[in-house]
């Protein structure tokens, strides 16, 4: 207990220190590195909070993809802001304000009621109807499936937003710069080695997701990372944006989700409802489609707007 408590305390201290460093670092690159480190530390914290699903997601998305995204871009922009930041007085005032917010939040946290209200019993009561073993997946795809549906659409919209920055003449082209890694370089090597492993891991994470920690998002992220790696290694090229196949992959998840959800209207009497008998099958189907789409979407999000003619 005490050891764990001390461990928690240390973890928290490090997290805060790294977070502060990420904000305070002089240099954008350093800040980004701090941030990636921070993401990994936070993933640890999630494990400590009994949220392995979240830990996976955080590691894959929060630290991994976000880190790649930020690191990738640091090379292409000026590192430093050219205009000076706010003056000392202003910074002080802002700091005080932020501190006040934190303090107020802390007070609120401390005043949370005991015993804490929870939906655990409700989830336990309802989960049999879904046939799933992982309550998080049940929440994501059944109880709050609507959230997840909107979330996939958020991803899709973000992708559209990224694409919207393409120059008109390059519309339909391939995103990002062409990566040419030396065929015998480390990256190429990794690029050849990792994808099969990643693919396996991804499918595994997806497959166990219905009963164990894991699921569509985590799996999708891993698959996206694999693809990105392959692209970076020059093993494959990013597909052109106008490709119909790509677009069909991108919308497959939402389409299947929407389709099954709409079918629920007639079969289960409610939109996004599942008939208990077929619940698990349907959910896995949805998840599969989602995994595919999420992987493609995330990868393309990282790849950026079309920059090369098709």
């Amino acid at each position: 207990m005490t050891a764990l408590w001390l461990l928690d305390l240390c973890l928290v201290a490090v997290i805060l220190a790294v977070a502060l460093s990420a904000v305070a670092a002089r240099d954008l690159f350093a800040a980004t590195v701090f941030f990636v480190a921070y993401g990994l530390l936070i993933a640890l914290a999630w494990v400590r909070l009994d949220a392995v699903d979240v830990a996976l997601a955080e590691a894959a998305i929060g630290a991994g993809l976000t880190g790649v995204l930020l690191l990738g871009v640091t090379a292409r922009v000026h590192m430093e802001a050219r205009t000076p930041g706010p003056g000392r007085g202003m910074r002080l005032a802002i700091g005080a304000g932020c501190a006040a917010v934190s303090v107020a939040l802390a007070a609120a946290v401390l005043s949370l009621p005991v015993p804490a209200p929870s939906l655990v019993p409700a989830v336990e009561a309802a989960i049999p109807a879904t046939g799933l073993g992982n309550p998080v997946t049940a929440v994501l795809l059944a109880f709050r499936g609507y959230d997840t549906l909107l979330e996939t659409l958020v991803l899709l919209l973000a992708l559209l937003g990224v694409w919207s920055l393409a120059p008109d003449r390059l519309w339909g082209g391939r995103p990002g710069l062409r990566h040419r890694a030396r065929p015998e370089g480390t990256l190429a090597w990794l690029g050849r080695l990792l994808p099969p492993i990643g693919l396996l891991v991804g499918v595994y994470v997806f497959w166990i997701g219905s009963d164990q920690p894991g699921g569509a998002f985590q799996a999708g992220t891993i698959l996206a990372a694999v693809w990105l790696l392959a692209i970076m290694a020059g093993l494959s090229d990013a597909p052109p944006v106008r490709s119909l196949a790509l677009r069909l992959v991108l919308v497959a998840g939402p389409v299947v989700f929407l389709g099954i959800g709409t079918a629920g209207l007639f079969v289960a009497g409610a939109f996004l409802g599942y008939p208990p008998a077929a619940a698990k099958t349907l959910i896995v189907t949805v998840e599969a489609a989602l995994t595919l789409s999420i992987a493609a979407t995330l990868a393309l999000l990282v790849a950026g707007a079309p920059e090369r003619a098709p």
Binding site: G85, M90, A93, I94, G97, C98, A100, V101, A104
Partner: protein, 556 residues
């Protein structure tokens, strides 16, 4: 039939005027002038008709009436209008803007007649205003600088008079709650605004009648107008003022203080007019001052009547008015005749004029004498009466002066003869001036003729005339009178106005220079620049958040 006559009298000139909208009629417009007053004359001759209320839908409910006094005024002025109209037709034939003159003539005529017929306040005011304002067109007609000046002074005073009257009438009507003249005047002594009403009315009418110091327009306007217009201005128009006083002063109730004051003002005017008149050289101007003087006399008469509550004064005033209208009108016409007559034929013209002129002073056997006779009793034996008697002397002085001035204006060409169109109307008017008073006098009580012809009376009338003539000759011989400007006091007024006018003009204020950005705007624009700063916006966000938290948590 008789009830319709007053309407006809007023409607006929208006109808003629409207007919002039048609081009063929307009071509003969001047010829209409002597015709237009004929129904009025007929109305006067058919005698008093009492109240005629046949126009309830006109104005605020129009009513006409004709009493004995009114009939005399109406008849005499109608005669004058006819004569002057005929004269004007000849005088203006072929001249520029004759049609305009005729139009104004007809309007003035309508108003001039309406005054004597109106039985309700509004109609009276309408008539009075009509006569006052349209006479402007007659005065200004020549469009010379002098005419413009005279007309300006005229309209200025006429309008002031109108305003006074309007206010007076409003006060009268508001106090009496009746628009008919008779009940309204009867209620005047009990009005809460009695003195104010009287002041306004006397000022308004006095102005028209030429009461000093409101007389200044007369000596300017009469000479400036074309001769026939001068005749009706002096003969008919000023009578409207007198008639107004007669109608609107509460003679039955009597008001001693007001009466005294009025009488004094009248007497002063009577002498003042003469005093200024003898300094003038234009015969028309002299005549105008004579009119001022004569109207002063009648005003004095009314003043006495008011003081003594003598409602019967109407007949005497009417007689005087009838005579004066015709005689003065004829004299003005004579000026035109003389101007067209050469030395050769001047004699008889001057003789006729002399008779008319001295008649004003009360030459026995003339209408003037009869008028004086009629006024003698109402004027009474007091100082007013005695002073009024003296006016015979002064009037004669003035009239002799007039004749001298007149003689000097004869035409250059010795053989020039006035056209018949001028001479005949003049003679008609002159004749009427002699005969009408006799007719009126004789229509009065029994023994009037004998009384008028009594030697004592005749002497009493003659000596002032002789005295006056002697004085006039003496003055002409030995005294060199200063030449006062026409309109005497008006010169002072004009001088003052010239000096004051620039002060009244509002000063030009330069618009304030536009400031590019005002204080608040500037401040807000600056604030916006600050708020647009990212850190400032972030700080605002924090502040809003904390404030909201505080307001939810800490405040009710």
């Amino acid at each position: 039939m008789t009830a319709a006559l007053p309407w006809l009298a007023l409607g006929f000139p208006v109808a003629l005027l409207l007919a002039c909208l048609a081009r063929p009629v307009r071509a003969h417009m001047l010829a209409l002038l002597p015709v237009a007053p004929l129904p009025a004359l007929a109305t006067a001759l058919s005698g008093p008709v009492g109240l005629v209320e046949e126009g309830p839908w006109l104005l605020l409910g129009m009513a006409l009436a004709l009493d004995a006094t009114g009939a005399v005024f109406l008849g005499a002025t109608a005669l004058l209008w006819i004569a002057a109209g005929a004269y004007a037709a000849a005088y203006l034939r072929g001249k520029a803007l004759a049609e305009r003159f005729a139009a104004f003539w007809l309007l003035t005529l309508t108003g001039g007649l309406g005054v004597f017929l109106a039985a309700d306040i509004v109609s009276f005011y309408l008539s009075f205003a009509l006569v006052s304002l349209t006479a402007y067109g007659l005065v200004v007609h020549e469009e010379t600088a002098r005419a413009h000046r005279a007309a300006f002074i005229y309209i200025l005073l006429a309008l002031s008079g109108e305003i006074c009257l309007l206010l007076g009438f409003m006060l009268l009507a508001a106090a009496a709650d009746s628009l008919l003249i008779a009940p309204a005047v009867a209620a005047l002594p009990d009005s809460p605004w009695r003195d104010l009403t009287l002041l306004l009315l006397v000022a308004g009418f006095g102005l028209k009648a030429g009461l000093v110091p409101l007389h200044v327009w007369l000596p300017l306007a009469h000479p400036a107008a074309p001769t026939p217009a001068s005749a009706v201005l002096s003969g008919a128009l000023v009578k409207a003022g007198i008639f107004g006083l007669l109608r609107f002063l509460p003679l039955e109730a009597g008001m001693p203080a007001w009466g005294e004051a009025l009488a004094l003002a009248g007497l002063f005017t009577a002498f003042y007019g003469v005093a200024i008149g003898v300094t003038q050289s234009n015969p028309k101007t002299v005549l105008a001052y004579s009119t001022v003087s004569q109207m002063g006399l009648v005003t004095a008469l009314l003043g006495v009547a008011l003081a003594e509550a003598n409602a019967g004064v109407g007949a005497a005033a009417a007689l005087h008015a009838a005579h004066h209208a015709l005689a003065k009108g004829a004299l003005f016409l004579a000026v035109g005749v003389v101007a067209a007559t050469g030395r050769d034929r001047l004699g008889w013209v001057l003789a006729a004029a002399a008779v008319l002129a001295v008649a004003l002073g009360g030459l026995p056997l003339t209408g003037g004498a009869l008028a004086k006779l009629a006024m003698k009793e109402p004027l009474g034996e007091g100082y007013v009466g005695r002073l009024a008697g003296l006016t015979s002397v002064t009037t004669t002085v003035l009239m002799v002066h007039f004749l001298r001035c007149l003689a000097a204006t004869a035409a250059e060409a010795p053989a020039a003869a006035a056209p018949r169109g001028l001479v005949v109307p003049w003679l008609v008017a002159a004749l009427a001036a002699l005969l009408v008073p006799w007719g009126l006098h004789l229509a009065g009580e029994e023994g009037a003729l004998a009384y008028a012809l009594a030697p004592a009376i005749l002497w009493e009338q003659l000596w002032p005339v002789l005295l006056g003539a002697l004085i006039a000759l003496a003055l002409a011989r030995w005294v060199r009178l200063p030449a006062l400007p026409e309109g005497d006091l008006v010169v002072l007024g004009e001088g003052t106005a010239r000096r004051v006018a620039p002060l009244l003009r509002p000063p030009r204020i330069a618009p304030p220079p536009l400031r590019p950005r005002r204080g608040l705007t500037l401040a807000l624009t600056r604030a916006e620049r600050v708020l647009r700063e990212w850190p400032a916006a972030g700080l605002s966000l924090l502040a809003v958040m904390l404030l909201l938290g505080a307001s939810v948590a800490l405040l009710p």
